[in-house]
Structure formats: structure tokens, C-alpha cells
């Protein structure tokens, strides 16, 4: 299959089309909307199902295999927010808050991109071509990047304020936001985290046997999951579509960043994955994770801790640029990279 054929088959999947459909609804100014509670229910279901399956798989895979991949995943969680912050701040001339806010999103990971990447690999390389512990890596990658970028932002702002104060001789009130410890608790107990980890623990305990009775309801390979994912992507398309108008406020640099960052991070992810001994399929998924930008866990954390960062920037970049880019172009690309690295 050529790269082009891959794009084509990727684009014609019900999920990608549902996303496109959502965008179109907004472009034609339709009143179409997914009820808030349906959206929340779908995301609870998808995250819990993801964790559950991950736990079941973990329950019969040797732990040692997990160590190296876990190390490189955490490395990705440290590197990507810093590389994002530096390029946004010094190449893109964004304010400290804006640069850190966007970096928090790119340092974390999008669960739907993860699912799409895994589906893509399974469709191309067949059953068993993705390591069973990938959802564990997803969990590891979710938080550190957000924390690192927030720390950069909060410390950077404090320093620039001290500089200003000592210059002017006046001491500004330090309108105290939530502490970073508070943010840790917030992130570790956020719905998405709790569902992933909780599902994983339950999956680990029940194992294959207990999973059997609810597998058709929760399993990624089953149509129930796919149907729910289709509806979820319709909603994502609606949200992305309502952000498209903001692309003009985002500016050319941010658009370029929203495409270049995933390519760079995706390549790094594929490379580190192969260093850690992952096969081509798993490298593709790890690359897609590194390349993706969070739009569920990161936005509230950033809004809370760095309200000075403009939400238009981070939401538009993560959801209206990088997410569709990865869905359509990125994943097949990281897949080619992974194949090339594996010597195919």
C-alpha cells in the first residue's frame, strides 16, 4: 500500500468522516449539537473501556518488557513540553503564559488520537501488532507534560513580575492562584485519569476470564466501541468546527507550529520507541501519542493555573489544527517512519 492509498483508506473510515461531518455542520451554521450529557457519557465510556482493556492485557504480559518503553515515554513527557515552550516563546514570540499554556497541551496526549493510531496499525498489520501495554504508556504520558509546562509558566510569570517590581520599586499583590500541589491533585484525580487508571486496575483484576462477559460492551475491536467513537468524533468535529473561525486570530506561526510540532514529536516518539525495542506497530502508536496534543485533560488545568494564557490559542492549535492533522496525515506518516526504522 502506498502512502497515498493509506491516506485515502484512512479518510474514508466512518470515524474520520464523522469528524468532517461535525466540521461541516458548523460551517453551514447548523443548530446541530450533541447533548452535553451524551458527550460526557461517551467520554466516560471510551476512557473506561480503554483502561479496562489495557488492564486485561497487562494482567498477562511480563512486567520487564514494560520498563524501557516506560522510561522513553516519560522522557517524551519531559522533552515535548520544553521543546514546545522554547519554540513558541523564542521563535513564535508568544508571551510566557501563552507559550506555556500551549506547551502544556503538546506535552500531554490525546486519547482519541491514540485510539485512531492503534486502529490504523491493526488495520494495516493485523491483530497483535501493537504491544498490550500501550494504554499504560498513555497514562504515563498524560500528566508530566502538563505539570512541567505549568511550572515553567508559573515560575516564568513570577520571575518577570519580580523583575518589573524591582524596577518600579512597587510590590504588586500576588493574586494567588491555586498551588501547584493543588494542580497535581486536580490532574491525578481528574475524570480522564481516574477512568483510565480505574479501568486498568479493574481489568488487571478480572483478567481475560472476567472480561469475557463484558467484552462486547467495552472492547475496542467491537462495534459498540466503534459506534460510540463515531458519535464522539462527530462532537469533536462540531467543537473543532466552531474553532475554525479562530484560525485567523491564531496567526501563521501557530498554524505552522500545529503541524511542525507533531511531525517533530512524532518522529522523536518513533525513534525513542525503536530504541526501547518496540516493534513497528507500537512505535507508530508511541509516535502518535507524542505527536498529539491533549484537549481533555490540559485545557481546564491550564485555564485554572495560567488564566493569563489565551484559550483561543491553545484550544485552536490542539483541536482545530493538530488533531485533524494527526488523524488524516500524521498517523500514516509515523507509520511509514516506523516501518522505515524497522527496515521495511
Amino acid at each position: 500500500m502506498t502512502l497515498f492509498q493509506m491516506f485515502q483508506s484512512n479518510i474514508c473510515s466512518p470515524m474520520v468522516l464523522a469528524f468532517a461531518f461535525g466540521i461541516v455542520c458548523r460551517l453551514i451554521k447548523s443548530e446541530m449539537a450533541i447533548p452535553r450529557d451524551l458527550y460526557t457519557s461517551l467520554s466516560i465510556y471510551l476512557l473506561f473501556a480503554l483502561g479496562l482493556k489495557g488492564g486485561v492485557e497487562l494482567s498477562h504480559s511480563p512486567w520487564q518488557q514494560l520498563i524501557l518503553p516506560a522510561v522513553v515515554t516519560i522522557a517524551l513527557g519531559v522533552i515535548t513540553p520544553i521543546s514546545s515552550f522554547l519554540s513558541l516563546r523564542y521563535l513564535g514570540r508568544f508571551s510566557i503564559a501563552d507559550a506555556a499554556g500551549i506547551a502544556a497541551h503538546y506535552g500531554s496526549v490525546s486519547a482519541v488520537t491514540f485510539i485512531a493510531a492503534e486502529k490504523f496499525v491493526l488495520a494495516n498489520l493485523g491483530e497483535g501488532s501493537v504491544a498490550p501495554f500501550m494504554p499504560t504508556l498513555l497514562t504515563l504520558l498524560e500528566i508530566p507534560g502538563i505539570q512541567i509546562a505549568l511550572a515553567i509558566g508559573v515560575l516564568g510569570l513570577a520571575k518577570s513580575k519580580r523583575d518589573k517590581d524591582s524596577a518600579s520599586g512597587v510590590r504588586a499583590s500576588d493574586a494567588a492562584g491555586p498551588s501547584l500541589a493543588g494542580v497535581w491533585h486536580e490532574l491525578l484525580t481528574a475524570r480522564s485519569m481516574v477512568l483510565l487508571v480505574g479501568g486498568m486496575v479493574i481489568g488487571f483484576i478480572i483478567g481475560y476470564e472476567g472480561y469475557a462477559s463484558v467484552k462486547p460492551f467495552f472492547d475496542k475491536g467491537e462495534w459498540m466501541f466503534k459506534g460510540a467513537l463515531t458519535l464522539f468524533l462527530l462532537e469533536m468535529g462540531l467543537v473543532a468546527g466552531s474553532r475554525l473561525a479562530d484560525l485567523k486570530h491564531a496567526g501563521a506561526f501557530l498554524i505552522a507550529f500545529g503541524i511542525a510540532a507533531p511531525i517533530a514529536h512524532g518522529a522523536l516518539g518513533v525513534y525513542l520507541g525503536s530504541l526501547a525495542g518496540l516493534d513497528a506497530g507500537s512505535c507508530t502508536v508511541l509516535g502518535s501519542m507524542a505527536a498529539s496534543a491533549s484537549y481533555i485533560a490540559a485545557p481546564p488545568a491550564v485555564r485554572m493555573t495560567l488564566p493569563e494564557a489565551n484559550p483561543t490559542f491553545y484550544l485552536t492549535a490542539a483541536l482545530a489544527i493538530t488533531f485533524p492533522f494527526n488523524l488524516l496525515v500524521g498517523i500514516p506518516l509515523y507509520f511509514r517512519m516506523a516501518l522505515a526504522m524497522a527496515g521495511h
Binding site: A175, S242, Y295, R303
Partner: protein, 100 residues
């Protein structure tokens, strides 16, 4: 009905501030509050509701000093950084002691 005059303080703010605002309201000494899910637009043109949640409205019946205390905290810590508005009016209640 014999009534007493108290202050109704209404705060409209982005939903993720809910816990922090409830904390401030209690801290200032208010005895109760009522919360409503709302949406809205203001000078900040925040169009982020899908991923960051909509707004909430917090209503507090209390004495004027307590309302002032809450407003002072809002003014210092919230107005400059978040999308928040607040306003006060007078209301008549029957059981004044319930709110003091």
C-alpha cells in the same frame, strides 16, 4: 409577613472556578448559597465552553458586610484573571437569623 432586608449577592463565573468560589463564600461567613448552571457572553468573548465548561451562577443571601467581604476577594484574586461578574441587590426575607 414581617420581613427583614438583606443583601443578595450574585456571582457569574466560569464553571471551573466553582469549588474555589464556594470556598471563598464560606470563608467570608455566608450561611448558604444556591448554584445554577448558566451560559453567557461578556467583554472577554470567551468561546471555550465546549472544552472548559459553561458558566455558573452563585447566589448568596447574607448581610451587606459579608457580601462586601466576598466582593473584596473577587476584586483582588478573581476579577483580574478570570471571567467573573458580580452584583448585589436588596431582598426581603422572613427569617433573618437563618442567614446571619
Amino acid at each position: 409577613m414581617n420581613t427583614h432586608t438583606l443583601t443578595l449577592l450574585t456571582i457569574v463565573a466560569e464553571a471551573l472556578l466553582k469549588d474555589r468560589l464556594i470556598h471563598e463564600v464560606r470563608q467570608a461567613g455566608a450561611k448558604g448559597f444556591t448554584i445554577t448552571d448558566v451560559s453567557g457572553e461578556g467583554s472577554r468573548q470567551r468561546r471555550v465552553s465546549e472544552l472548559l465548561g459553561d458558566n455558573i451562577k452563585i447566589e448568596v443571601i447574607t448581610k451587606r458586610e459579608t457580601a462586601d467581604k466576598i466582593l473584596t476577594v473577587l476584586h483582588k484574586d478573581f476579577f483580574p484573571r478570570y471571567a467573573v461578574v458580580a452584583f448585589m441587590s436588596e431582598v426581603q426575607v422572613v427569617r433573618e437569623d437563618k442567614y446571619l
